[in-house]
């Protein structure tokens, strides 16, 4: 009976610790990603904008076509191995 109670308590502590660790990890990840957003993406974006980089077509005249001609696709198995 004593062993059983002890195992239950240990299991409960384990569950609480796992839940805490998961929340802490999620929180840390958010903090790290926010830092990456400010420290990495921010300056890279700023520099890109200085040099006129246009990452998305967010503006432009209403009458301008949005068609883009696609290059011929790579019709090889090697082309399908690539994830990009």
């Amino acid at each position: 009976m004593a062993v059983s109670s002890s195992a239950t308590v240990q299991g409960w502590i384990g569950d609480v610790w796992t839940a805490y660790a998961h929340r802490a990890a999620t929180y840390q990840t958010r903090v790290l990603l926010t830092i990456a957003y400010v420290v990495v993406l921010g300056p890279a974006t700023f520099i890109g904008r200085l040099f006129g980089a246009r990452l998305l077509d967010l503006s432009g005249t209403a009458s301008a076509s949005t068609w883009i001609e696609r290059p011929a696709s790579d019709k090889t198995v090697a082309g399908l191995r690539r994830q990009f």
Binding site: T29, Y37, T45, S65, T66, I68, E69, T76, Q83
Partner: protein
């Protein structure tokens, strides 16, 4: 040669098995996990496909995923950089899922399926295009794809010829007809990627009085392309699909619920009209580029049946073919067929005449299930099923119909259907209120014999008779027949029609034929066998449980006829919780 196609991780995961160019099996993951629109790696659907083909994972020649993850990741990072610093919240949330799982697709597939061989990666819209062209009846065709967004493209045009497929033009994110329609779906109080067809249903109740306002959001260009004004839309920098200027333009959004206000119906009608005009422009451009009389379409926007019907009537194409799983779930078919035909240069032998590619259950398996559960039922002789069930429906009973292999795609096509009498004016309200538990403004669709279709329905096709085997075209119910079909004639006089041939589904054909003999009208109400929020039933147990939780009068599974008096709830109410939340949109 065995190729397993997979599509997943955004919405509506699916898997298919292509053997020597023939589609042996295909299914959506949601049917197995019972989570509507489940986007997770389709291990259950893949396992079913392998079982159906008697194939072990090590007997697969290739596994191919329907898009290129790193290209998509590039677009997402570029998008958040372009909208810096407004994109912080969306960036953090997106990166958590990308770094946690979406970047590691190859490893997940290998681990999930126990597969050690070659994993390949198609391209999102190429997969859509191939899923539309290669299973089609055409040797050559123009191909049009339109959806929310893939890697970069949201819309593409191309040409298919025999085993070759080439996409020549694309419109790129953030300009997206699919995301625009989803923005209105969210604004009108429906779930994104779920409620778009509810917007279509609502549109019939309104007048397109807000078209000028919608045109502030989307400019249609003379060459068939279009451009969105991103000031009104939020998805480029956040998780909401609409922004404050959208609300200032159209007023406060509609709260979720069954009520229908004229203002919102007018907005639904307006976005529907503009979407149809945009799709017509794209189709006309596709025709001009290809010179073909045939058009194949796929992508989520190709599920807009009203737009499809206008394309058939007005674009100049003589024939239009939309594959039954035109959304992302069907991308797996395109990835596999593109590899088999265009890359490996194998000839085409397969044509998708039916969508019955999912699991099926024999009469013995159904009987065993019913006996195990102690359910009272009557066994019908094979030749008696159609006449008996036709009589029940003619007497205004609502019948759950579970026969043969499950459909692939979002439509029930006579394998997992709830059937009712279209000539009874009370049928629609009965189905909406007592069985489907859904909004009263949504219409029900008819199934009819292919030979009788033109008697009751006018597709407006330039070449006369039209087949609509996958219920992906609307037609005008002929004015002199509308009084005969009150349950399926929508407010605007249209219906989303399924035509059934004897070759496609002999038993369902016989049932409609028998119903026609009894009533003079060979048309049935056909709605999907599920309750609101539940994926379409897959197994006999799921069918029986849904039957037990609703006011259906009879259940017919194989040759077993189960009366309402045999109902017994096997589990909780099956209306599943949606896996995506409200107006959030994942791009």
């Amino acid at each position: 040669m065995n190729i397993l196609g997979l599509s997943c991780f955004y919405h509506d995961a699916g898997a298919c098995l292509l053997r020597d160019g023939e589609l042996v099996a295909a299914a959506e993951e949601e049917r197995f996990t019972r989570l509507k629109h489940d986007s997770s790696l389709p291990v259950h659907a893949a396992s079913y496909c392998l079982d159906a083909g008697n194939v072990d994972p090590d007997q697969l020649d290739y596994v191919i995923f329907y898009e290129k993850p790193l290209l998509k990741f590039e677009r997402i990072v570029a998008g958040y950089a372009a909208t810096y610093p407004r994109s912080r919240g969306a960036f953090v949330k997106a990166m958590q899922t990308w770094l946690g799982s979406k970047l590691w697709v190859r490893g997940q597939i290998r681990d999930g399926l126990g597969f050690d061989g070659e994993v390949l990666f198609g391209e999102h819209h190429q997969s859509h295009a191939a899923s539309a062209f290669f299973p089609s009846p055409f040797a050559d065709a123009a191909v049009l794809t339109a959806d929310g967004v893939g890697e970069w493209a949201s819309t593409t045009l191309g040409i298919g010829h025999d085993i070759d497929l080439e996409l020549s033009h694309e419109i790129r994110y953030p300009h997206s007809l699919g995301l625009l329609y989803s923005a209105f779906t969210a604004y009108l109080g429906f779930e994104v990627n779920e409620g778009e067809y509810k917007v279509m249903g609502m549109a019939a109740y309104g007048r397109p009085t807000q078209v000028d306002k919608v045109r502030k959001l989307i400019h249609l260009v003379d060459d068939g392309s279009y451009r969105l004004d991103l000031r009104y839309l939020g998805y480029a920098h956040g998780l909401r699909s609409i922004d404050e200027p959208f609300v200032e333009l159209f007023g406060p959004p509609r709260a979720p619920g069954p009520e229908l206000e004229d203002r919102f119906a007018d907005i639904a009608a307006s976005i529907q009209v503009v979407t149809e005009e945009a799709m017509l422009g794209l189709a006309r451009r596709a025709r001009a580029l290809s010179g073909s009389d045939n058009l194949c379409m796929a992508g989520g926007v190709a599920l807009n049946v009203l737009a499809n019907a206008r394309i058939l009537r007005e674009s100049g194409f003589k024939r239009v073919w939309v594959q039954p799983a035109a959304g992302d779930a069907g991308g797996c078919v395109g990835a596999a067929t593109y590899l088999h035909h265009t890359v490996l240069r194998n000839p085409r032998r397969y044509q998708m005449d039916t969508a019955y590619l999912g699991p099926g259950y024999s009469n013995a398996e159904i009987r065993e299930f019913l006996q195990q559960e102690g359910v009272e039922f009557t066994l019908l002789e094979d030749g008696d099923i159609a006449p008996c069930v036709a009589r029940l429906i003619a007497d205004n009973n609502v019948v759950g119909w579970f026969q043969g292999r499950m459909e692939f795609g979002p439509r029930a096509l006579g394998a997992r259907s709830i059937l009712a009498n279209p000539t009874d004016p009370t049928t629609k309200d009965t189905l909406n209120a007592k069985i489907k538990h859904r909004e009263a403004f949504r219409p029900f669709a008819p199934s009819t014999l292919v030979e009788a279709a033109s008697t009751y329905f006018d597709f407006g096709s330039p070449i006369g008779d039209v087949e609509s085997p996958f219920m992906l075209l609307t037609a005008r119910v002929r004015p002199d027949k509308q009084h005969l079909l009150p349950a399926i004639t929508h407010l605007d006089g249209t219906a989303r029609v399924q035509t059934v041939s004897r070759a496609q589904n002999p038993l369902y054909y016989a049932l409609i034929e028998e119903f026609g003999k009894l009533t003079g009208v060979p048309v049935l109400v056909n709605t999907s066998f599920n309750v609101q929020g539940e994926p379409i039933v897959c197994t006999p147990a799921e069918a029986f449980n849904s039957f037990a939780h609703t006011d259906m009068d009879y259940l017919v599974m194989g040759n077993a006829l189960v009366p309402a008096s045999s109902k017994r709830k096997l589990g909780a109410y099956p209306g599943a919780k949606l896996v995506h939340a409200g107006e959030e949109v994942v791009v």
